[in-house]
Amino acid sequence: MNKKLNKIIWNLLVMLFLNMITVFGQNSGNGKLNGVVQIDTSWSSDIYLSYIPTFSDITSMSSEMIIADAKIDSLGYFEFDLDFLPNEQRLYRLHISKNEDSKNSLIIGGLNENYLVFIANRDSKIKLKGTSLTPPFKNVIFETQNENFEFQKITHLVFKKDSIASKSGRSKRKFIEERLNEKLLHIADSSTNSLISLYALHKIDFESNYPLNENFYENYLKKWSHRDDGYSEDFRKKLPLKMPKYNWPFIISLGIILTILGYVIGKYNLFKNNRINNLTVQERKVLDLLKEGATNKEISEEFNIGISTVKSHVSSILTKLKVKSRKEIMNLK
């Protein structure tokens, strides 16, 4: 009986132990990337995995970006463990180098384009197959991973556009670009994965596309406002600043009010009383008589001063009050 109980306890312990290993394994990540590429002997048999911190870095090359390397065997097979990657999905790049080049070598465009960008995290299980010899990553098929299937769709679209555009005249090229931009905008709008969505916008050249689709980009920023990774931050920084919207009805109303106010002030000499303070005591006395409509002679007799002195006072008063005639003085309050 005891023997049987011991066996049951022992079995339970083994099952518990195995279960713990499985759980631990899941938490620590067991991602893998493997695949097959077709390369000729001009390529080195080393393949490198780089971390791409922003979309601009897709076409940057530096040894510090390389995080792992592996060998490509004679059948073109290679494999990377991804369990050391972060939990969040990020961008990574695979690249190979020509025999004569250093490992830090990036070739963009042409028959020797040597890189492939994809999305991964520590749990990703990615299996890919290269179907083209030149360039080696031209027609890569992702046999697993939904994200990369969609991601690769963008790469294929751009590749196809570049290929057709290089063989087309200017006018046709413009139509091809417009059509591609429409497709990419649709992917950016409909994708539920922010990396895929941003990648589509990056391929549109959003900095120049922004003025054409301002509303789209405004809504886009609202939609993804919760994302605060390096890719989203880089996108927000590069998006041209929106021109401030002026409240034109308010500005026009204010202009009309100020014009009317200016007219009233001018018409009724509202500020002229302040100028009276600039007059001397004698000039003020003369001004009082001028307001009553007194002539030079009457003023002369009132203050017992000469006509020429009165004329001088009147001239000074007209200048200081900035009025043109005695009639205007009479209208002053």
């Binding site: 076409t59 940057s60 530096s62 250093s102 990036l106 963009i108 465009g109 200017r170 120049s208």
Partner: protein
């Protein structure tokens, strides 16, 4: 004295090779002239941005541009703009170590277009303490 030293360090050496040949193209039944330009630029601890102008004539049928960049220390970014100011490509290469010749980083960009935008295209070179070599090769078919 210090300024003088800095000026000497930031020198940028430029050499230009040109080549032209005319051939009979049976596919279009016309004489086709091919112009090839190659500019080699040596960066010596450069920090100052430079621009290389590539002129494209009005009736250019095809245009090919290849830029090779090898950096031994520092970093360099290259940007290509067409005659309308639209960015047509960019890449950057840099070394992790600042020790000269300890490592090399290479970058190449290839562009090929039929009936390119005529006018002055620009290759903007943005170095950051860069030592290295840049080669800009263009072929125009008229």
């Amino acid at each position: 004295m210090k300024n003088r030293t800095i000026l000497l360090l930031f020198t940028l050496l430029l050499s230009i090779t040109t080549f032209a040949q005319t051939q009979y193209d049976q596919t279009v039944n016309k004489q086709v002239t091919e112009f090839m330009f190659e500019r080699s630029i040596q960066l010596e601890d450069c920090k100052k941005n430079e621009e290389v102008i590539i002129s494209i004539a009005e009736n250019t049928k095809q245009f090919e541009l290849t830029i090779n960049s090898s950096v031994f220390s520092g970093k360099v970014t290259l940007e290509i703009y067409d005659s309308k100011g639209k960015k047509q490509g960019t890449f950057s290469v840099g070394t992790q170590l600042n020790i000269e010749n300890a490592e090399t980083a290479n970058g190449t960009i290839n562009k090929s277009l039929l009936e390119p935008e005529e006018g002055d295209w620009k290759v903007k070179i943005i170095p950051l303490n860069a030592k290295g070599l840049i080669s800009i090769r263009t072929i125009n078919w008229l």
